[in-house]
């Protein structure tokens, strides 16, 4: 029983501590760690945004898309999509 609670807490903590792209601040530099949607991931690789890519969060449209830049390239990511993308601050 205690084990289950501990596992539960670990899972919850993991979930809470994972930073998603929609929480990034303007100007912050982050590393993309996971893009769960298959289609989006493939499209992102073509854009140059593979998992592991370091991007600058250029703009966060209030309640709207997140705009990231990398090498003069600007990419707008819808809010709902940004919520699924895990990032790591660097």
């Amino acid at each position: 029983m205690i084990m289950i609670i501990i596992i539960f807490i670990v899972v919850i903590l993991g979930e809470v501590t994972t930073v998603r792209l929609d929480k990034a601040n303007k100007g912050q530099i982050v590393k993309i760690t996971e893009i769960p949607n298959d289609r989006v991931r493939v499209q992102a690789i073509r854009f140059g945004l593979s998992e592991g890519a370091v991007v600058t969060c250029r703009e966060v449209v209030p309640a709207g898309p997140v705009i990231v830049t990398r090498n003069k390239q600007e990419i707008a990511i819808g809010r709902n999509l940004a919520k699924t993308i895990s990032v790591e601050p660097c």
């Binding site: 949607n37 289609r39 989006v40 991931r41 493939v42 499209q43 992102a44 690789i45 073509r46 854009f47 140059g48 593979s50 703009e59 449209v61 209030p62 309640a63 709207g64 898309p65 705009i67 090498n71 003069k72 390239q73 600007e74 990419i75 707008a76 990511i77 819808g78 809010r79 709902n80 999509l81």
Partner: protein
Amino acid sequence: MNDGIESRIPAGGKKIVLAGNPNVGKSVFFNALTGLYADVANYPGTTLDIACGRYNGDVVIDTPGVYGVSSYSEEEEITRDIILVADIVVNIVDMVHLERDLFLTLQIIDMGIPIIMALNMADEAERGGMKINHALLEELLGIPVVPTAAVHHTGIDELKEKIYQARPGLVDSSLVEKISQVSTPCSRGEALLILEGDPVVSQRCGAAPGAEPESIYRSRRERANQIASLVVKEAGENQGFADKLGRWMLLPVTGFPLLLLTLWGIYELVGVFIAQFIVGFTEQIMSGYYEPVIRSLLGGFLGPGSVLTTILAGQYGVLTLTVTYLIGLLLPLVLGIFLVMAILEDSGYLPRIATLVDRSVSALGLNGQAIIPLILGFGCVTMACISTRLLSSERERRIAIFLLAFGVPCSAQLAIIMAVFAGLGPTYLLLYILILFSILVTTGTFLGRYLPGVPAPLLIELPPLRLPQPKNFIKKAWTRSYNFIKEALPLFAGGALFLSILEVTGLLQGLRVLLTPLTVNWLHLPPEIADVFIMGAIRKEFGAATIMNLHMLPIQDFVVMLTLTLTVPCIASTMVILKERGWREGILIWCVIYALAFLIGGVTAHLLEALSKAGVLNASASLLFGLIIFLTGTVLILSMRCRPRKAD
């Protein structure tokens, strides 16, 4: 595979295919290579127009801009199939975004197709303080590389000289063996796409799609990044006015005013100047000069009033209505809208608008780009339906066209509405607006939720803002308009023939009688109102005079206006819907809209009558009624949004 394009290739001619990412200036190269002559081939089974032209006895084919080829979108599939049969690919690359563009370059190289690279935007890159070692790039890729600045015509001659030196480049060594292991009889390029898991190509060749598409993509991306890092000497920072303007377009505080200003400009240009002034002028010419001439000519030959004269030159005559509509009405509208679309496309503003309004329209099952056709619909639903081509997925085009035909009143409808409502008072107008708004939002939400497929998530690149080149967008708009009119001609002639036959055989009169249960019994209107609906299906203004002369009760006036707004605006928009969505879907959309329009009209009629019988139909009661409908709509939306989504 493609009759439209195959038939244009002269004997012994090569297929030179222009390929590149979006917004790299492909059309400038196309114009530079083919000169003034260009032909547009409609790719079978799609709405996309592919431009073809001649160069030295070879054929040059333009392709839609893509980031890579596979089966992820209509554009990609077409580009893929054209590249697969290419003899030479001219890969146009944006020097500033070399790293991004190299993915497509490497993919085409891996396909084993002879290729030459035009390293475009050299001027822009230099201004940004960027230099590229193109000798090294040539060496690393194994293909000729020509630096160009196409808009200033720099480097074009060198490209023309070297175009036949195009050769297959250096293929990723780890792929060579894998490609040779693909056993089905297919081309080298198809083999690569099978390995990359392309389902369409795999099925076509009868092979199982590769199991590790992502690792191929990933290693290609790494290779592209590595090559870019080796050849790019310095990357300067670019913070000009365009950069700042681009930023302002994205932020709500500045973005919405800028958007409103743009939309107002478009509305003034297309909705007022072209749709009213120019079209008024051209229609006058057609109905004042062209039609009488045709009538008197035909009357002289066939005798005035004969059946054939009515069919050919009557009110719905094949020679009169078709030509008047196409040249007098549609051509100016289409030219105007294609001009605006081309300018918006070339400037790089569209993706920014989409980003700005993405959140607001996501409730309608659409992503941000759909706002443009919806706004244009208030000017003319017909042209707005054409502009849904801007939208990225089939699903979104479907929703947008349905909303346009159903709930967006066009300028012609608005004019009648204003005239009738002037006599009804502001309460009815408010009620009308509230009802229409609730219907629009509810329908959009409903379609967004229940149409198969998921809303395309917004993931778009924001290209640098650029000043559109007049030569480019005028040519683009003209080619598209010409092609549109050419395709619409048989459709309009057929429609006119159908209406004429209805009139000649007296079926139009019979239709009036047939409609009585609907008009008199269900909508509680006088029988003559059938004329309004029959004529309204052709063009809304045709029925307007009848409404004014009938002297109905305010409630009846209101019900007629509401029902008329909800039906498809005119025969032109009906035909465009049929053309854009195909016969089966077009007819379905048309029928559903008419059924819903009469259903909602009838329910409103009964409700309003019940309210007035109870003696509560004064100003505030109507307002309440309106608010109730409005709230119902909102609640419906909220409940649907809160329902858990099905697993995607």
